[in-house]
């Protein structure tokens, strides 16, 4: 199911700054990573999806709705977690999230129930009656996530959810986001400038740079086909290459390394056997999973 679709989406700000140019992308439900450097246009994209700013040209549809003309319907189905601090210090989390639930159009009792629910899901059930001012950064990020969840949206827009968190906090937040995407049945767009971070939890990735689409695809499509086994032996590299070639494996040499594409699980064993039969001192045997990052760097250098 396509949840977000854009057609030649362009946003030019008053001063002639182009934040998004000609962005055409179809996004499937799931956990989606929106990556790009600071100022790449991620936040602009989110604001357009929320109907906060109108695009200069092109079209955007969220659940088939136009955020410009059908703002309320879109916002009822979307939850937004901004990047910056956005919590008043002198109220309790329960009260704050309830208030925002009511502003999303929930009736009073429903808002209260949903607020405790949302806080429970982000792991703040026990602390919810404490004032937000006394919370740690990690807890504050959770409150921000809870307020985005309170009205049970179908899509969450998370702007840098791991901002300011320590490694353990990051881990916990990412796991939580992944859980929301997989178990709650809510699609999540996670904005980040850290590719390595979102890559792990996302089903698909959209990379933008300077307002342009770099690449949008499913993570599996980006990484699966490129598993390569790197074999290094301290002597007899040529013999091994020959032996592997005889086993119908395509071998490429890269310095001291032999690179063999892994077509099947069996290939791994066959290579090991070949090494053992030749009685060669094996130095290294590791699976080279293509990182998503490599795909982007290759592209970027091509641009230059």
């Amino acid at each position: 199911m396509t949840i977000i679709a854009t057609q030649a989406l362009t946003k030019t700000y008053g001063g002639g700054v182009t934040a998004l140019s000609d962005l055409t992308v179809d996004v499937e439900a799931g956990v989606i990573g929106l990556v790009g450097a600071n100022g790449a246009g991620k936040s602009t994209f989110i604001k357009i999806m929320l109907g906060l700013i109108a695009p200069s040209a092109g079209e955007v549809r969220v659940f088939g709705l136009d955020p410009v003309s059908e703002t309320d319907q879109v916002r009822a189905r979307v939850g937004y977690m901004p990047e910056n601090d956005c919590l008043p210090p002198d109220v309790s989390a329960a009260e704050f999230v309830t208030h925002l639930g009511r502003l999303s159009g929930l009736p009073k009792t429903a808002a209260r129930e949903r607020a405790s629910e949302a806080l429970r899901h982000v792991g703040l059930y026990e602390e919810r009656y404490r004032q937000i001012g006394g919370y740690s950064t990690g807890m504050k990020q959770r409150v921000k996530l809870a307020q985005a969840l309170v009205h049970d949206p179908d899509l969450l827009l998370l702007d840098e959810p791991t901002n300011g968190l320590d490694p353990a906090g990051r881990e916990a937040m990412l796991t939580l986001v992944q859980r929301i995407g997989n178990e709650f049945g809510i699609s999540v767009v996670v904005c980040s400038h850290l590719l390595g971070e979102v890559e792990r939890i996302c089903d698909s990735l959209i990379a933008i740079e300077g307002g342009r689409l770099l690449r949008a695809d499913r993570i599996s499509a980006m990484t699966a086909a490129s598993d390569i086994l790197a074999v290094e032996v301290s002597e007899g590299t040529d013999e091994l290459a020959e032996a592997l070639a005889r086993l119908d494996l395509t071998v490429t040499r890269e310095g001291q390394l032999l690179l063999v594409p892994l077509e099947s699980e069996a290939a791994y064993d066959r290579i090991l056997h070949a090494v053992a039969e030749l009685d060669l001192p094996l130095h290294r045997l590791d699976q080279r999973r293509h990182r998503v990052a490599e795909l982007f760097t290759a592209k970027e250098t091509a641009d230059v």
């Binding site: 604001k47 929320l50 906060l52 700013i53 703002t71 309320d72 916002r75 009822a76 979307v78 937004y80 901004p82 910056n84 601090d85 956005c86 919590l87 008043p88 210090p89 002198d90 109220v91 009260e95 208030h99 925002l100 009511r102 502003l103 999303s104 159009g105 929930l106 009736p107 009073k108 429903a110 949903r114 629910e117 899901h121 004032q131 307020q147 009205h151 049970d152 929301i180 178990e183 709650f184 049945g185």
Partner: protein
């Protein structure tokens, strides 16, 4: 919770209940603002100032009602009550207006508001309505106490009560004028800054600076200047409108035949404040 203290993960539940529209959202924000104005649902610290001011105003009304009941001396009528309490109203607005808008700006909560079915106009509307109601309650409730005091001690039976009610209603109307004007100005000043102390100071200063100008104009030896002097300060402006509407005489302020000008200025001033607020929040709402 079960007795063994096991936490059951009942999983995520989708919400299928009602989703109300913008009028309900407006109502929720209004209610929230009105509660916040009196520090309800906030810490004890937030309750001190609004209730201190409200307490003083109430006390004055009770004393007034008591004196009238015991000695049949009217210290203030309903209009004079508002005029006398003017500085307390200003303090109240200076405390509450920043609580309503500067606080939201300071904590950065506005992006959360405006990513929901809420527009800049709704936000301002709800906030101004909450502030107007709060200021009106500040004056209207003591006026009601004065009325009750007079009504229960009247010696003319029902007709005495009716006469008193006939005086209370315009008094309430006068309080509405106060509330509308002071809420608009106060909210506009408060929306400029996110720092609560600056906002409060700014509001008091706005009223403080204009008051002496009225005095200066009254020394000038021109009849017209005397009549128009009240236009400069919001406090005398409201009084001028009251004098004009009641065709009354006030020892402190003589509006002559310039009454309509006071009325026009009041309306324009409120409209300008609201339009400026709207312009400000249109900008803020698009982040």
């Amino acid at each position: 919770m079960s007795e063994t203290g096991v936490i059951h993960d009942i999983g995520y539940q989708r919400y299928s209940g009602a989703r109300l529209g913008r009028p309900a959202v407006f109502g929720a924000l209004y209610q929230h603002g009105l509660r916040a104005a009196f520090g309800l649902g906030r810490s004890a610290k937030a309750k001190i100032f609004p209730w201190l001011v409200a307490g003083i105003v109430l006390l004055v009304a009770v004393i007034n009602a008591g004196v009238k009941a015991q000695a049949n001396i009217t210290l203030f009528d309903y209009y004079m009550f508002d005029d006398t309490m003017s500085w307390l109203v200003i303090f109240f607005v200076a405390i509450v207006a920043p609580e309503l808008v500067s606080r939201d700006m300071r904590s950065g909560v506005l992006p959360l508001y405006f990513s929901r079915p809420l527009r800049a106009a709704d936000y301002i509307g709800a906030k101004i309505a909450a502030l107007i109601t709060a200021v009106w309650l500040l004056l209207g409730v003591p006026q009601l106490i004065m009325f009750l005091g007079a009504a229960f001690t009247t010696k003319k039976g029902m007709s005495g009560v009716w006469d008193e009610a006939g005086r209370l209603l315009p008094g309430w109307g006068y309080s509405v004028l106060w509330a509308v004007l002071f809420a608009s100005i106060g909210l506009l000043v408060a929306s400029i800054t996110g720092k609560r102390a600056f906002a409060a100071g700014g509001i008091v200063a706005t009223f403080l600076v204009t008051a002496p100008v009225v005095g200066v104009l009254n020394i000038v030896r021109s009849e017209t200047a005397h009549h128009l002097s009240g236009l400069v300060s919001p406090m005398t402006l409201v009084r001028g409108v009251q004098i004009w509407l009641r065709d009354g005489v006030d020892l402190g302020l003589d509006v002559g035949r310039m009454g309509p000008i006071y009325g026009i200025e009041l309306v324009c001033l409120v409209a300008v404040c609201l339009l400026l607020l709207l312009a400000r929040y249109r900008k803020v709402a698009s982040l």
